[in-house]
């Protein structure tokens, strides 16, 4: 790990000033950043420890019914917050399907949004990676790429965004509150992350020094609370990143779908909201045929970026199954294996 200067600002203004300098990086829990620094993947000159900034760790219901979650709230604290989880069970299930209990106790909500891809070539400084070093080339294109992107990728980069939380937030129209040198602004979560194009090293719309201070879930999205599920296919039962995941949320009235929300994870450089598929479900009967039509629409632009054509079919099936589960209803109690393909539902696969 490269040596760095350590500063611990006492307020947001000082943090932004310290964080605007070239080579500066904000430190939350560090569950991704310290790992990247140990591997020499990220080499900051200055660490700006934001963990003591005041008023960034609250979960609050706002007067208009929106929920506001401070950037320093820990993943576990949000997932287990009774009022929040009752209104936004999709977020709770996505959070609990991710990482391990230890990591969820530490990792922050703001940090989750800004975690880096788990592309192995990005993590290996001996490999070429356009994301790590602009113009260096991409070893993933001709390499081990079965986990890589099927939507929105470019010749320069096929890495995926690994967050589960962001999939739920994209589906539920979450807004990110960003504070920077020129004041505070709102960024829709779906606009925070960029597709790679020919600048895969530019991952978000944040400028140097920009600090995520909170996320907001709109009151309207609590209307999906009764029919919302997260489904995450991974290569072991727990504590693994998604191969493909989907968040599905429905509002069902008199046997017909009034509103639908679908987002995919681990398929692109950003959480992938499937707006056209959602529109196709409006007014439909919530059944397998309608869900298969929606899944086809969601994947209509998908292309393999390597040995990962199977992910296109997998993503279709994950969408259908997530929608079927959502239609069946949000469980009263969080499943023992959140977001798992194994679940103690009649007719589904058992684990162990």
């Amino acid at each position: 790990m490269k040596r760095f200067d350590y500063v611990r600002p006492a307020n947001i203004a000082d943090a932004i000033e310290a964080g605007s300098a070239p080579g500066a990086a904000y430190l939350g829990a560090g569950t991704n950043l310290i790992d990247l620094m140990k591997g020499d993947v990220v080499r900051p000159d200055r660490i700006v420890d934001i963990t003591r900034l005041p008023q960034l760790d609250a979960i609050e219901a706002l007067p208009d019914g929106d929920f506001r979650v401070g950037a320093l709230v820990r993943n576990a604290d949000l997932a287990y917050h009774p009022d929040f989880a009752a209104k936004f069970p999709l977020v709770a299930e996505a959070l609990l399907s991710g990482a391990s209990a230890q990591l969820r106790n530490a990792a922050t909500i703001g940090g989750n949004l800004l975690q880096r891809t788990r592309c192995r070539y990005f993590y290996d400084p001996a490999s070429a990676c356009n994301k790590r070093e602009s113009g260096a080339g991409c070893d993933a294109i001709e390499g081990e790429n079965r986990t890589h992107a099927i939507l929105g990728w470019s010749k320069e980069c096929t890495a995926t965004h690994p967050s589960d939380l962001c999939v739920a937030l994209a589906a539920l129209d979450a807004v990110v509150e960003v504070e920077g040198a020129s004041g505070r602004r709102d960024v829709p979560l779906v606009d925070l992350h960029r597709l790679p194009g020919d600048t895969p090293d530019r991952e978000t719309d944040l400028a140097p020094g920009d600090l995520i201070v909170a996320i907001r879930l709109p009151a309207q999205s609590a209307g999906f609370a009764r029919h919302a599920r997260y489904l995450k296919i991974r290569e072991r039962t727990s504590y693994a990143f998604a191969m493909v995941s989907a968040g599905a949320a429905l509002e069902i009235e008199n046997g017909a779908i009034r509103r639908a929300r679908i987002a995919l994870g681990a398929v692109a450089a950003k959480p992938w909201r499937a707006v056209a598929a959602e529109a196709a479900l409006e007014g439909a009967t919530p059944d397998t045929a309608a869900f298969e039509r929606a899944a086809d629409i969601a994947l209509s632009d998908a292309r393999a970026s390597g040995d990962n054509a199977f992910k296109i079919d997998l993503a279709r099936r994950v969408i259908v199954r997530a929608l079927l589960r959502a239609a069946a209803g949000t469980p009263n109690r969080m499943p023992a294996l959140p977001g798992s393909a194994f679940a103690p539902t009649a007719g589904e696969l058992d684990h162990v």
Binding site: M1, R3, F4, T31, A101, Q102, L103, S238, A336
Partner: protein, 165 residues
């Protein structure tokens, strides 16, 4: 420039002048305070061998910068027994043969203590397995570990009920 750091570790106060901000909580415990019960497995947050409690919550000490933990209360495996009386989780691991080589065991035990205080498993083996998934055991002693955690959870919950009554 030294970085002053105050930590309470297993009940004892430590004033530390850290000469390097790169030191993780794990390396501080093992290499500078000689509390070698906490193990370094992967050093990358993937195995759980380094699990300790910080302010009562289980975390991976390998991914925490020591300097950022200033003011925290840390509990390690060295701090859980009451003199010669083992912690109920330690006792249950022995009774259920919850280990083979023992390298992952301090992390497993600290993780189990954290799990029990979080109170999310509710006596369900599947929930215990899920909530212990951040602790790998390469010997594969998972069956014994699960049984030990379930028994310790039951014993601790029962003792707390009796205390409250």
């Amino acid at each position: 420039m030294p970085l002053p750091l105050h930590l309470k570790i297993n009940g004892a106060s430590h004033e530390i002048d850290l000469d390097d901000p790169r030191v993780t909580l794990l390396d501080l415990l093992r290499e500078r305070l000689y509390l070698t019960g906490t193990k370094k497995g992967c050093d990358r947050g993937q195995c759980g061998a380094c699990t300790v409690l910080v302010d009562g919550r289980r975390i991976n000490s390998c991914l925490a910068l020591a300097v950022s933990m200033d003011g925290a209360e840390v509990t390690t495996i060295e701090g859980v027994a009451d003199g010669d009386a083992l912690h109920p989780v330690q006792q249950a691991f022995i009774e259920h043969d919850g280990f083979q080589c023992g390298f992952c065991t301090p992390g497993q035990i600290m993780s189990a203590i954290g799990l029990i205080s979080e109170a999310r498993a509710e006596g369900d083996a599947e929930r215990v397995r899920e909530l212990m998934s951040g602790n790998l055991c390469r010997c594969g002693a998972y069956a014994g570990i699960t049984a030990a955690v379930l028994e310790a959870e039951q014993r601790i919950t029962q003792a707390e009920k009796e205390k409250a009554a």
